[in-house]
Amino acid sequence: MEENSTTSHQLVFRGKGTAYFEIQLANWVLTFISLGFYYPWAKANSLRFLYGKTEFAGSRFTFHGTGKEMFLGFIKAIGIFILLYGILMAGVISGSKTGLYIGFGIFYIGFLALIPLAIHGRMRYRMSRTSWRGIHFGYRGELMRLYGLFISNLLLTIITLGIYGSWYTVNLRKEIIGNIRMGNVQFSYEGTGTELFLINLKGILLSVVTLGAYLFAYTRDLHNFYLNNVYLEQDRRFARLSSSVTGWGYFKLIAVNLFIVVFSLGIAAPFATIRTMRFVLQNAELVGDFDADSLLQTEAIYKNATYEDVSDMLDISIV
């Protein structure tokens, strides 16, 4: 056993569509009665279920976040968005061209400026409030570094008419994933912009040629590129995620999900979520040198959920 210490730790999702449907149904009703103010609690319920049903190396993840924590963030997020829309409206109503430009300018710059803040805030909160076998995750990224990266890469992407976008995506992933800790385990992302650029180029060209049929294979390539390049380092021993989704698998997932959601007018969306979770997680495993029993608690507590909902409203999804 010693000479070949390569192990494989399976990720398993044990959530059932019916159970999640019941949770979401209750969430909808309560959100409705409370005129939307239940939203943070609804989200906590949903995340607690989804994390609690995700099993890695035989143990579940735990989401520790509470509706109460997220409610404060929710209120602040609403405040920020009302402010931004207020400025836009004021610009429009002012009637003058300059007023209009200033309103639009502040609105869009405000939105752009919020993105790194939202990513940073959400990563810190989500990671800190997630644990596995009692070992908490953590995010050690620095906000200013993320801003620098975000702005410089955005400019480069604009200058190169979008070509740099692939490198931009990879750089952002490197920064975000590279700052994730799971106790004393350090994450890193090792993909390169060139690889992603080639995947994108191939994907777009073949999708056009095949009238969209290649899109599923393209999505598969992106999915595997994002997951297979995630490495975990634990006391100088390394492991990596390995994902084996197929284009056909993606096709089945998307086609059936579309069917479920459209024909239930959205009511059965929880079943689609469960199918997606199962698809992603059942097809992923951690391979390499990883000792699940020797993780140590290292990360400090962090309970500020301000940007958790800002990122919801910006529709940012990370990892």
Binding site: A26, T31, G36, Y39, K53, L295
Partner: protein
């Protein structure tokens, strides 16, 4: 005293420890060996601070204890949880579960949910429009006028026909249309027969409209209808209604994927057609009122729509279901229902006839 075999995590490392748990008064007693060959360690968990994992699989119990970082234990003995619950019944465990599974067998929960699911469409189709209308009414007319001014300068960019504008204003003045702000009538050079009202007091009539209108009564009907849109603040109300509808649906559905977003958008668009149809009908009725006030033959409105219908024929199908304006024929039926039969009407006043003739003169000179 029963002792249960459990897996214990101390919150410092991910090392699973085999531990023995026993139920002691007020606290759970956990005994484990930190490492092989060392002396056993004992920890106590106060029962009322123990948190139970809500979503563990059947037969498995997961408990957590303490603030950051939490300790936890997993038990696969099925009778552990009932024993725990009954032993600490006085100070029960904390759980975050909201699933209906916790209340299974109690059908009233389902009844409440069905009730609220039924309430959602009721709210969407009846309560929400009323709330939106109420909110729209709270906006002072002066504010609406300011908003409309910006819009009007953008919309009325086409060149104005100043002579016809003067004639139309003269005609409209005779109708005496009361409003919280002055209403401006404008004729613009556009051959497409059309007329519209911009919030804040602008009524715009295309030149092409005068090719269609054959009588002063029909023109009065047209102006009365557009005035109805202004007076009843339809633009603002439509804006508030569609906004509130959108916010409502996304609040209910929450964070569902993009597919639903598309459905929502379309559903909402379909409904705003329904809105504008009811608004058109409202405006028709107000137009009729104006005509009655001036002793004008309400058949003028029927004529107006018939002329428009004749114009539309051969151009596009008059599909009631998806058109923004309710099908003209259904509007005609609606008006005819309200017109008292066989009423004799005096001819329009001299002043109305005067401006009507002026408008006609200009049009015929245009033709030449």
């Amino acid at each position: 005293m029963t002792v249960y075999e459990v897996i214990y995590f101390d919150g410092k490392s991910s090392q699973p420890h085999r531990a023995q748990v026993s139920l002691e008064p007020g606290a759970l007693q956990i005994t484990y060996k930190a490492q092989d060959g060392t002396l056993p360690v004992t920890v106590h968990w106060q029962s009322h601070r123990i948190e139970k994992e809500a979503y563990a699989e059947a037969g498995k119990t997961i408990l957590r204890y303490g603030n950051y970082p939490a300790q936890s234990l997993e038990v696969t003995v099925p009778d552990f949880l009932p024993a725990l619950d009954s032993y600490y019944a006085a100070a029960p465990l904390v759980t975050q579960q909201i699933s209906l599974q916790a209340n299974r067998g109690t059908s009233w929960w389902w009844l409440i949910i069905l009730f609220f699911l039924a309430l959602i469409p009721v709210t969407y189709f009846w309560v929400l429009p009323a709330v939106a209308d109420f909110a729209a009414r709270q906006i002072p007319p002066a504010y609406e006028q300011k908003l409309g001014q910006t819009l009007a300068t953008q919309i009325i960019s086409e060149s104005e026909d100043s002579l016809q504008t003067a004639n139309l204003r003269g005609f409209a003045r005779q109708l005496n249309l009361p409003a919280p702000y002055p209403i401006t009538f404008t004729v613009i050079r556009n051959a497409e027969p059309n007329a519209f009202a911009v919030p804040g007091g602008h009524i715009v009539v295309h030149q092409g409209m005068f090719h269609i209108i054959k009588s002063p009564e029909a023109l009065a009907a047209l102006l009365g209808h557009e005035y109805g849109h202004l007076k009843l603040r339809h633009s603002l109300r439509a804006l508030f209604r569609s906004l509130s509808g959108y916010i409502f649906i996304s609040a209910i559905i929450g964070d569902v994927s993009a597919i639903t977003a598309i459905i929502i958008e379309n559903a909402n668009a379909l409904k705003s057609l329904e809105y504008s149809r009811s608004f058109e009908t409202e405006a028709d009725l107000l137009g009729l009122q104006i005509m009655q006030q001036h002793q004008l033959n309400p058949k003028g409105m029927v004529q107006l729509f018939e002329q428009l219908q004749a114009h539309n024929q051969g151009r596009s199908q008059d599909l009631e279901f998806i058109s923004t304006h309710p099908a003209l024929s259904s509007r005609i039926r609606n008006i005819q229902k309200r017109i008292k039969q066989n009423n004799a009407f005096p001819p329009p006043s001299d002043s109305l006839q005067y401006f009507w003739q002026q408008l006609q003169k200009k049009r015929t000179s245009e033709k030449k």
